[in-house]
Symmetry: C2
Subunit: 317 residues, 2 copies
DNA sequence: CCGCAAACTGTTAGCGCTATCATAGAGACC
DNA sequence: GGTCTCTATGATAGCGCTAACAGTTTGCGG
């Protein structure tokens, strides 16, 4: 018991025994068994973070936001990856919850019924992130992708572009990309316009794919005056392609992407984009978990919408 | 006990009771407590993966290799991030081990004495990855960065470049980058040459930094004929800068990076590089853990060196 | 030198599971 | 019916720790 007290810095132990214990622990190379500790104390200082992928820099950036907050606390993030598959997500959530974490941060608002039920019953704080267009299990932080799509479309129309093409990923289960697309398209429809053409990819180097898709869509349509890309990487590929081919940007054709990735700063021209505020979403989500665990007051807001702003860069007129 | 048997698919249970149990579990939304299970069975199906950072795509790519193997087993990866700090690494290793994982995969061979001792005493398989230039605690998979640096230098000299500049990160604790640099430089020294100039950065958009650094180093030295970048991102920035300024590549100046990132495929010209084989390192490491746990035979090799090959691309003559 | 509080250290039970062994029931066969 | 085997289920202990409380020592005022 005294050893336990020393190693957890809890309760009163004389300086002499404390040192004796620490010395012995060091000599023996003793590593406490957190499993037993967690079982006995019913406390697990882990926060599950469930994201669709690691290959898209967007998610590591959210992770960094989360870590920066949790580093100040005894909590530790544990990552689970779903590959955008609802069934895999369900399994990952189940696995996570079976370790009885202190909280859960999950990307997106769309889950299987079973997953949703598990989270509701888990009696731990759950924060859904990156999206606010829908119903959260408990709390959520993110941006409205619907609105982001609408806003981009509005900016584009305002600047006089009319013959617009869309380039995106072949991912029906990326709900956030879908919502942006829907928002974008609905503004066009309201303006009596429609998309002239579309182009989709899956897999491979996003930069190279952006290049290829841009070539393909421009070859099919010589009258397009704007290309809206579902993410900055393919947008960057398109930009490089246009510059190479001597297509004047934003004169002949305007370009815009989405996310506000760091990479943009290094391109020959700054791609128009909309920052998806990944870092801020991560920190806010982690803060919400921490606040919920302190549970001093239940007054914490349950839905935080962050408003991204359109950055025109150099690729729209 | 019967419930436990049903949920773990272990031991004989009649079909009738099995169904009864599953039905009840579903209705109650029962999520087993893995903590208790792990304590009782002394089995934890987690593999700790300890890497310096998530913001460098290199590490997520290793993760994907690891996941692809572990997905076929009951094992699950758990990530810990060290931020390139030895003390943080030591803490993360301690935390990991205190959960009694089934195995540990750690990036790099350089650790604090305490961390090394913990891993030696942990009596779980430990695989150090990404580097083989040094002594492993137990097993290791990776490439020799020394050799990679030497090989790149050899290729460059072979192609007639003589006035060489180096551009890298300001990270004394990135031992792999350091070893590449040392290997590179030793070949130059052996050839009676030296680096004409060097340039370092930290933080910010690597692409933008590559651009800035390239501008700076070329402004200082109008006679450089080759730029060796410590990673592809800054190399890509340099390439974009040169193309923009009308500097002929590889005529006036040759360029080479390191890592073989996907991004390269989308650039106007393919940057010379050397693939660091992240995916393969990840899969191999995970396979080694799995093999060690099956422990049928101890004959598994303890040190796997993967040989990356120089890809000349379009930026060396 | 006593009494009493504060400071320290120890005892006990139990967290929710699983390993192990024990028991019950169902057939098979003589 | 008795015995034996096999399958299915149950009882018990214990994993390594911590919460809660009990006991011991120390310090200090009177």
């Amino acid at each position: 018991m005294t050893v336990s007290r020393v190693l957890r810095n809890r309760g009163e132990v004389s300086e002499k025994t404390r040192e004796k214990v620490l010395k012995a622990a060091r000599e023996l190379g003793y590593v406490p068994n957190k499993i037993a500790g967690a079982l006995a104390s019913n406390r697990v200082n882990l926060v599950g973070v469930i994201i669709p992928s690691l290959s898209n820099m967007v998610f590591p950036e959210v992770m960094m936001g989360i870590s920066s907050v949790l580093d100040e606390t005894p909590l530790q993030p544990v990552v689970g990856v779903t590959g955008y598959e609802p069934e895999k997500e369900e399994r990952v959530i189940f696995e996570m919850l079976s370790w009885r974490p202190s909280g859960l941060i999950v990307a997106g608002l769309e889950h299987t019924d079973a997953a949703r039920k598990m989270m509701e019953n888990a009696s731990v704080p759950v924060v859904e992130i990156m999206d606010v267009d829908g119903d959260a299990v408990d709390a959520c932080v993110g941006i409205s992708h619907q609105r982001a799509g609408r806003q981009t479309a509005t900016e584009i129309l305002k600047r006089g572009y009319r013959r617009i093409g869309f380039l995106g990923t072949k991912m029906p289960l990326d709900h956030r990309a879908r919502k942006r697309f829907e928002g974008f398209q609905s503004v066009l429809t309201e303006a009596g316009l429609g998309l002239i053409d579309q182009e989709y990819y899956s897999g491979g180097s996003a930069l190279a794919k952006g290049r290829e898709m841009t070539e393909a869509i421009l070859n099919r349509n010589d009258d397009l005056d704007f290309l809206y890309y579902s993410n900055d990487m393919i947008g960057a590929g398109g930009l490089l392609y246009c510059l190479e081919k001597g297509i004047s940007v934003p004169g002949d054709v305007g370009l815009a992407g989405f996310n506000g990735v760091e990479l943009i700063d290094g391109l020959p021209r700054k791609l128009a984009t909309m920052d998806s505020c990944r870092g801020e979403i991560g920190t806010k989500a982690a803060q919400m978990i921490v606040a919920a665990l302190e549970k001093t007051k239940e007054a914490a807001p349950k839905r935080i919408e962050i408003s991204p702003i359109f950055a025109a860069g150099d690729t729209v007129r």
